[in-house]
Symmetry: none
Subunit: 212 residues, 4 copies
């Protein structure tokens, strides 16, 4: 039942005007988009289905036609974000570049999309537990996959001797991505630090820490 309409990942990019009483675009996309905004602003539980459909300019019936439940909307948001980030990591990780450069690029990428989709980022760790256990397991699995893929990069550097090997690769990933995922709690889009800047600093911190 879930994910009735996959809604092309490109929609994530917000390529235009979907602010203000959203009229254009097809209904399911509009609903997810509006829900993202409201979940980020008020939290999942404090956002009523009514407020979502009102903001999307449709009725409840329409929403339940496309989604099984309120938490299905949340699931869609998670899916959208994970698809983008995983695809991105996959692309970068298999590029023909030195491992340090791939790690740097991946870090910059993940931070840039995290900030470009700041609402998704805010929602992610805050609302995971509101998801139905089954869906939660699914999300966790996808996230785990991402983690593993990144860990392989670290490992690769450790195996080749470019990185110190006296710290478990898993822990390195947890350390680094803890920092990345926490961005949404302190980063201000109107501050003096661009997403790229943060990305480069973070990559630099990681790579420095791994110097033998």
């Amino acid at each position: 039942m879930s994910r009735a309409t996959p809604s092309d990942p490109d929609d994530t990019q917000h390529t235009g005007s979907d602010r203000t009483p959203t009229r254009s675009g097809d209904v399911p996309v509009r609903l997810v988009s509006v829900a993202t905004e409201l979940f980020a602003k008020h939290g999942f539980e404090s956002t009523s289905v009514q407020s979502i459909v009102d903001a999307a300019g449709v009725t409840k019936g329409a929403m339940y036609h496309y989604f099984d439940s309120k938490d299905d909307l949340l699931y869609e948001i998670y899916g959208r974000m994970l698809r983008v980030q995983t695809a991105q990591l996959e692309r970068v990780a298999s590029a023909d570049l030195p491992v340090t450069e791939r790690i740097r690029a991946a870090t910059v990428d993940v931070i840039e999309t995290s900030i470009a989709n700041f609402d998704d980022t805010k929602i992610f760790w805050r609302s995971m537990h509101q998801l139905h256990p089954d869906k939660q397991a699914q999300v966790r699995a996808e996230r785990r996959y991402y983690h593993e893929r990144f860990r392989a990069l670290i490992q690769e550097g450790q195996d080749s001797g470019e990185f110190r090997a006296d710290v478990p690769a898993d822990l390195v990933v947890d350390y680094h991505f803890g920092a990345v995922h926490h961005l949404s709690t302190w980063y201000r889009k109107d501050g003096w630090l661009g997403a790229g800047d943060v990305g480069r600093y973070f990559a630099d911190m990681l790579l420095s820490a791994l110097r033998p």
Copy 2:
């Protein structure tokens, strides 16, 4: 603030003050303790006041006698945690040790207490937005204070030339504590890694990253 009775958690430890024989069966203390557990398990919004008072063995009226609202209970939890961590950092940061050792000790400390109070840790970032705006501001201020105190340590190392100075101290703190605060999303108490181990690894990551 808003509580009818401050019910300092320290009361539990019989610190001398003898107004009302505050034993561990003390109602407000029991309520906060039970709420912590339930909020961590089911989330703030999914925990009903009824379930809290049932678990604490009191009536709703009793709860509202001590706390203004459900979110006041949450505030109490935040306050308790912040007080402990700030006091700890203050103690360590002003110790007579090399700056690297103070940073290492502070990191180990914060991770150890984060894991010792795992429920508090799980609640912290997940539920902040459920707090009344005023209380949220208060918590943020206390957290900011903590951040500043730690940043001063980094700065100290940078000024003395022990640490590289080409990365903003603020960003270093955000990076490091992002990782620390994210512990609750992946750490398993029954795993093969003790709190001390994680603390030492994390401190090591940070200090390595700061090598000139």
Copy 3:
């Protein structure tokens, strides 16, 4: 205003409009009617929403689908009464009759409808302060309009010399309508005095008092 569905009381009289076969079993109409009865009997605060919906044979959800709040129900009652009385006064005041006859007719009318809608009358002055301030202002404005319209009649008689002019018209209206509005505190429907009788006596008192 605040109602989801205007549910004009006139709908009950089948005035042509045929969207949703509005019969007298219409939910919002039934709710207002039942609420009127209960508010008059027990007072606004002592009437629970539960008792209203039980008496109307619907669920609470249904009530909140049509009305924003309990006090919105009260507002509807006020609106209904004011619409009727204002329309009536307007009709009589602009009739082609001597001013004394128009005043007499208006007084008889207002008393007859006050007694015909005795529950509304009982509620009116007793519960005004329970209304949300905004709604209260609205009601007050409509009531003021009524007062002004009646005052114009008095003035007319004073200007023409038919009435004594040494007493402010405003005060005359307040005096007269104070008496009218107080009916509900002493009038008994099962007494020996009909609504028409009271109306004629009251009109007579007023007109006598105004003799030059």
Copy 4:
């Protein structure tokens, strides 16, 4: 049980400073005084016992020491007002003056005390139904007594031929006192009309209406 402390009627006169966190005066008097103010401002049901005792600077226990219930406070207010007005009427009605002068004086008196104790006046008709049935009956009886006493004056004038007799004396009293009791809904203390002015106009209206 009720009326534990009769609290000298003179207290009604508010002879001094019992505004601001009331400290002086004995507890029961302070409680009734504060309750009067709050009931007038927010209504009986919307005023919590807690807010009363807070405003009076005592605790709930103290209140329940002097009064049986919240509605006992209300009863006290009614009693206080009725005692004053009845005594006043009795004094004036039996004075050695022409009946018209006695009616005029009584009207001016009742309006002056109504305005001097404006809060009591506001509460009176609005909150009668909140009183326990027994107490309600008692109040009604006292009020009836007042009505009868005044009716006797009208009758006296009718019997002597000074007043027209073609309108029932009872109805005249209801008409006149309806107007008087309604004062609290429109009178403004800061307006251009003093209590005495209103009293004289009202008396004049009544006496004019009664001219044969």
